[in-house]
Symmetry: C2
Subunit: 186 residues, 2 copies
């Protein structure tokens, strides 16, 4: 099973720092060529399923432009250029909730789109989260902080209330991870 070869890349659209569109010319293992494969460069991001010392899950109720109505969301956001994914996860937890956690588990990372890239999602589970400072709200979005019980977050997941792919994924992977024992990252 051989990878495809990238022959050329050209930028066809770069409206701002959140998006670059390239067209790649590809060669398949059998020699066929594809002249116009779209490739999307967007920032990588981190999402965190965070549980407090008293066993409640930190979630945000928020509006997002691509979501139909309001959605439940885990903590998360874009990585700064060059930022380590775990650092971004810890920074976002503090900024979005005012909590800090002392036990972190990696839940894996995934490319967002199998064909076009669209960045990489990094997933974490944060345990023993405690209030540490005031929340630093995003300047564009309205967000309401919720503390959900295990039963409530399971129900919300099963009812489709996490309406964004990475959000449903990190909650499903995090709840799954909590069924098992593992060593923390730090």
């Amino acid at each position: 099973m051989q990878p495809w070869k990238t022959l050329t890349k050209r930028v066809v659209c770069h409206p701002n720092r959140f998006l670059t569109v390239e067209i790649h010319e590809l060669e398949l293992p059998d020699g066929r060529r594809i002249p116009d494969w779209p490739w999307l460069i967007t920032p990588d991001y981190a999402n965190v399923l965070a549980r407090t010392t008293d066993g409640r899950f930190l979630c945000l109720r928020q509006f997002k432009y691509a979501v139909n109505g309001v959605s439940l969301a885990p903590v998360g956001g874009f990585l700064e250029p060059g930022e380590d994914p775990l650092h971004a996860a810890q920074r976002e937890l503090l900024e979005e909730t005012g909590y800090a956690a002392n036990e972190w588990h990696a839940l894996g990372r995934c490319v967002v789109d199998a064909n076009r890239g669209v960045g990489t999602a990094h997933f974490f589970l944060a345990l023993n989260a405690k209030p540490q400072c005031a929340r630093h709200a995003d300047d564009l979005e309205q967000q309401e902080l919720l503390l959900l019980s295990r039963h409530e977050i399971e129900q919300a997941l099963d009812r489709g209330e996490f309406k964004v792919l990475a959000w449903a994924a990190v909650v499903a992977l995090g709840l799954r991870y909590l069924e098992k024992k593992a060593e923390p990252l730090k």
Copy 2:
């Protein structure tokens, strides 16, 4: 919590049927305007966690352009224009594996990107899958069909062998669903 208002939309890039890039001019609830919000239109897709009558999970080992190396994948693919997501899921199961299933459960749907759209992912669990016809391989990709035990697919998920976001999500959501009882779609 109020949605943002779309004031104008313009297409800035449309290299082929797999991608249209728009720039939206938005108005926030407080009256502020964003002149250059990128919006990405790509085809919706369906993914299926499929289990055979003897309790094995149908997976594909395949190369994808955006994936580093080979990945395990569940069944899945783009919806045809106007196609019902369940129909697409059933069609993809037959085309990619040659199997048909008589019990289908909806696992939900998610927008792929909270900010830019990038299509909607529709997830299904298919049970009692049986061989029905020859596989109809995709003309671009090399794919190897695997039948994994419950233990093997759990291990593969935990090891990060499903390297694409929607693929890890449907496997996690499907395995979670199997812990519970539910009525089939048909």
